[in-house]
C-alpha cells in the first residue's frame, strides 16, 4: 500500500512539474499557434535566476521567495524579446517557428554553459522545504508539496486572469477569432506580446520550482520539454483545463507504468497511449474551435 501511495505521490509531483511547464506552453500555443522549443530554456533561465538571487541574498528562504517573481520577469522578458525579434515575423509559418526557436534554444543552452559552466550549480533549498510530511501515512517531501501548491496556485491565478480581467478577455478573444477581435478594437499584437510574457514567465517560475528537486544545469530544460509538449497535445490547444487534466493523467499514468515496468518502458507506453488517444480525439481533450472542418 505504501509503495502504491508513494508511486501516486511521485505521479502527482511529476504532473505538477509538467503542468507548470505546460501552462505557459499551452498559452502561447493557443494564442499564436506557435510551438516554442525555447520554452525549456526559459525554464533554465528561471532556475539560474534562483541561483543568482541566492548569491546575492544568503538566506535560502528569502532568496527563493524573491526568485519567484524575479524569474517570472527574466523569463517573461526573454519571451517578449523572442516574440518581437523572431516569432512575430513567422506567424504564417508555425512549423518554421518551431525550428527557429529550436535554434534559439541551442544558443541559450550554450550561453548558460559559457556563463555558468557545464556542471550543475547548487541552489540550496530553505530548511522548511527539505523535510517530509506524512500524507495518509506515506512520506511526501515538502519540496514536492511546494511544487504541487505552486502549480495549483498558478492554475488558479491564470484561470482568474483569463476569466475576469480585461487582459484575459482580450486573450480569449484573440484565441477564438483573431480577425473579429481586431475588428472589435483589440490590439492583437499587444495581446500577443503580453501572452508571450505571461507564458514565458510561467516557465521561469517552473524553473525556480525545479531547483528544489532537480539539478540546475544548462540542459535541464530539455529533460522535461518533450513530456510537456505531450501534455499540451493531449490537453488541446490553449486549454487550461485540458492541460491540468492531461498533466495529471500523463503524470499518474507514467507513475503507474513505471511501477510495473521500467521508467523507459513507461515513456514508450505513455507515447503509445497519447497516439492512441489522438485516434479518438485528434484535437486533444478540449477544443476551442467548434465548427472547423479540420
Amino acid at each position: 500500500m505504501d509503495a502504491v501511495l508513494g508511486q501516486v505521490y511521485a505521479g502527482i509531483s511529476l504532473a505538477s512539474v509538467l503542468l507548470l511547464i505546460a501552462l505557459g506552453l499551452t498559452l502561447t500555443f493557443g494564442q499564436m499557434g506557435v510551438i516554442n522549443m525555447a520554452h525549456g530554456e526559459f525554464l533554465m533561465a528561471g532556475a539560474y535566476t534562483a541561483f543568482v538571487t541566492q548569491q546575492v541574498f544568503e538566506a535560502a528562504g528569502l532568496s527563493l521567495l524573491l526568485a519567484l517573481p524575479l524569474a517570472f520577469l527574466v523569463a517573461g522578458l526573454l519571451g517578449v524579446l523572442l516574440e518581437v525579434t523572431l516569432i512575430s515575423r513567422l506567424y504564417a509559418r508555425p512549423l518554421d517557428t518551431l525550428l527557429v526557436t529550436w535554434g534559439v534554444s541551442l544558443v541559450l543552452q550554450q550561453v548558460a554553459r559559457d556563463v555558468f559552466g557545464a556542471p550543475a550549480v547548487e541552489v540550496r533549498a530553505p530548511s522548511w522545504l527539505t523535510g517530509n510530511v506524512e500524507v495518509l501515512g506515506t512520506p511526501f517531501t515538502t519540496g514536492r508539496l511546494f511544487i504541487v501548491v505552486l502549480a495549483l496556485g498558478s492554475v488558479t491565478v491564470l484561470s482568474l486572469v483569463l476569466r475576469s480581467t480585461a487582459l484575459g478577455r482580450r486573450i480569449r478573444a484573440v484565441v477564438q477569432s483573431r480577425g473579429l477581435a481586431e475588428t472589435s478594437g483589440v490590439d492583437s499584437r499587444r495581446t500577443d506580446r503580453l501572452t508571450f510574457f505571461i507564458g514565458s514567465g510561467l516557465a521561469g517560475v517552473a524553473g525556480v520550482a525545479l531547483t528544489l528537486i532537480a539539478s540546475t544545469q544548462p540542459y535541464m530544460g530539455s529533460t522535461y520539454i518533450v513530456d510537456a509538449f505531450l501534455v499540451v497535445v493531449a490537453g488541446g490547444i490553449g486549454q487550461i483545463r485540458g492541460a491540468v487534466l492531461a498533466a495529471f493523467g500523463l503524470g499518474l499514468l507514467q507513475a503507474a507504468f513505471a511501477y510495473s515496468q521500467s521508467v523507459s518502458t513507461a515513456k514508450v507506453l505513455l507515447l503509445v497511449v497519447v497516439i492512441a488517444f489522438l485516434q479518438v480525439r485528434p484535437q486533444g481533450l478540449f477544443d476551442v474551435r467548434t465548427r472547423s472542418v479540420v
Binding site: R89, A92, P94, Q110, V233, S292
Partner: protein
C-alpha cells in the same frame, strides 16, 4: 511562401523537352561519376571515411527533403528510423563476427542471443529487416496519425516524442542492446574485413551508389502525379481532399519513403563509423538532420544532399576544436536560414524567388494562377486552412 512557388514548378527537365532532359540527365550522371570515381582516387583514407559518413547522413536528408520540403510534414523523429536501420545492421554484424551460434561479446549474462537478435543473423534477413522494420513502423505510425488528420505541430511533437522514447528504451536495455554505450567494434561487413582500405573504398561506393539511387527515386517521384499531389497536399490539404484524393495516403507514402531512406542511411553508418549509440538517434540528432536540409533548400532535389554534406563537414571541422562556436553556429543557422531564407542558402543569391512576396503564377505549366484564398497566407505548412474559421463567440464581452 514562395519556396513553395519554386517547387510548384515542374522540374527543369520536364519543362525543357527531350533534349534539355537529356542534358540535365547527362549533368547528373557526370556529377555522379565524379563522386563515385573521383573521391576514392583523390581523398586520403581518413577523408574518404569521413565523406562516406556524411553521405549516410545525406541519405536521411534526402528523405526529410521529400517528407518536409515537398510534403510539409515536419518530422523531428527521423532518428527513430535511422536508429532502427543502424541497430539492425549492428546486430547482424555482431552476430556474424561471433560466428555461427555465437553471441555478441558484450552480453555478459545468459546464454545465446535474444530471439530478436537471431532474426537478423542471416544476411538476407538483415537486409530485409533494415528496410521492412522501419518501413512498417512508419506505415503504422503514419496511418494512425495522418488518417486522423493529426498534422502540423502535433505531428512534429509526436514524431519528436517517438525519437525520445526510442533513445530512452535503448539506454535502458544495457544487457541486450548495449545501453548508452551502444554497439561497436565490428570486424567485418558481410564477409569483408572492415580494416582493409580496399574494402573501405567498396563501402564508399556502395554508400554513394545508394545515395544516388535515392536522389533518382525522389526525382522520379516528384516528376510523377504523386509528386504533384504531395506538393498540393502541403499547400492545401483540404482542397486536395475536396478534389477526391485522400491526403493521408499521399502523406503516408512520402513518410514511409523518408523512413526507409533514413534507415538505410543508418545501416550504412554502422560499418562506416564503427559505432551506433543512443546518442545518434535521440531528439538532438533527429533535429540536427534538419539543419542541412534547411540550409540546402528543403524543396529542391540536390539541396538536402549538399546542405547535409556542408553542415556535416563544418560540424566535423569545428566541433572538435571549437565546440561552443559550432553550437552557436548551429543555432544561428537554424534561426537565420529558417526565418529569413526558407528556400535555403541558395535563395540568398537570387536562385529562388524571394520569400514573402506571395505566389507567382507558375511559368511554363498549365496550372492556373493562385487562388484568391491562398494569397494572404500560403504556407509550407497546412495549418491555416481557408475553411473552418473559428466561430465568433459573444463578442460583446470584448473590450
Amino acid at each position: 511562401m514562395s519556396a513553395s512557388a519554386g517547387s510548384l514548378r515542374r522540374p527543369a527537365a520536364a519543362r525543357a523537352g527531350w533534349t534539355g532532359r537529356a542534358a540535365v540527365a547527362g549533368a547528373y550522371a557526370a556529377a555522379a561519376a565524379v563522386l563515385l570515381l573521383g573521391a576514392p582516387a583523390l581523398l586520403s583514407d581518413f577523408r574518404l571515411r569521413l565523406l562516406t559518413q556524411f553521405l549516410c547522413l545525406a541519405m536521411v536528408a534526402v528523405g526529410i527533403g521529400l517528407a518536409w520540403g515537398r510534403g510539409g510534414m515536419l518530422t523531428l523523429g527521423q532518428g527513430l528510423f535511422f536508429g532502427l536501420g543502424a541497430y539492425i545492421m549492428a546486430m547482424h554484424l555482431q552476430l556474424s563476427d561471433a560466428g555461427p551460434g555465437g553471441r555478441p561479446s558484450f552480453m555478459v549474462t545468459g546464454s545465446g542471443a535474444p530471439w530478436w537478435w537471431e532474426l537478423f543473423r542471416s544476411p538476407v534477413a538483415a537486409v530485409v529487416g533494415i528496410v521492412a522494420v522501419p518501413g512498417l513502423l512508419a506505415l503504422l505510425l503514419g496511418l494512425s496519425v495522418f488518417r486522423r488528420r493529426v498534422k502540423g505541430a502535433y505531428f512534429a511533437i509526436l514524431s519528436q516524442a517517438s525519437a525520445a522514447a526510442f533513445a530512452l528504451l535503448l539506454v535502458s536495455q544495457q544487457n541486450t542492446i548495449g545501453g548508452s554505450n551502444g554497439l561497436s567494434s565490428f570486424r567485418q561487413f558481410f564477409g569483408y574485413a572492415l580494416n582493409d582500405p580496399v574494402n573501405r573504398r567498396l563501402l564508399f561506393s556502395i554508400t554513394a551508389g545508394l545515395l544516388i539511387a535515392m536522389v533518382a527515386v525522389v526525382h522520379q517521384l516528384m516528376r510523377s502525379r504523386f509528386g504533384e499531389l504531395l506538393t498540393a497536399v502541403r499547400d492545401g490539404e483540404e482542397r486536395v481532399r475536396f478534389l477526391g484524393y485522400d491526403p493521408a495516403v499521399v502523406k503516408v507514402v512520402a513518410y514511409v519513403v523518408a523512413a526507409v531512406f533514413a534507415a538505410v542511411g543508418g545501416a550504412m553508418f554502422v560499418p562506416v563509423v564503427g559505432i551506433i549509440s543512443p546518442n545518434n538517434v535521440g531528439v538532438v540528432p533527429s533535429i540536427g538532420f534538419l539543419i542541412g536540409v534547411a540550409v540546402g533548400g528543403r524543396a529542391t532535389l540536390l539541396g538536402p544532399v549538399l546542405g547535409a554534406l556542408a553542415v556535416s563537414y563544418a560540424g566535423s571541422e569545428l566541433s572538435a576544436r571549437y565546440e561552443s562556436v559550432w553550437i552557436y553556429l548551429q543555432g544561428l543557422l537554424f534561426i537565420v536560414v529558417v526565418a529569413f531564407l526558407p528556400g535555403g542558402l541558395g535563395s540568398a543569391f537570387g536562385a529562388l524567388p524571394r520569400p514573402g512576396r506571395g505566389r507567382t503564377p507558375v511559368v511554363g505549366s498549365d496550372e492556373p494562377g493562385p487562388a484568391p484564398a491562398a494569397q494572404d497566407g500560403p504556407s509550407l505548412v497546412n495549418e491555416p486552412e481557408p475553411f473552418g474559421e473559428p466561430v465568433p463567440v459573444r463578442t460583446g464581452e470584448v473590450r
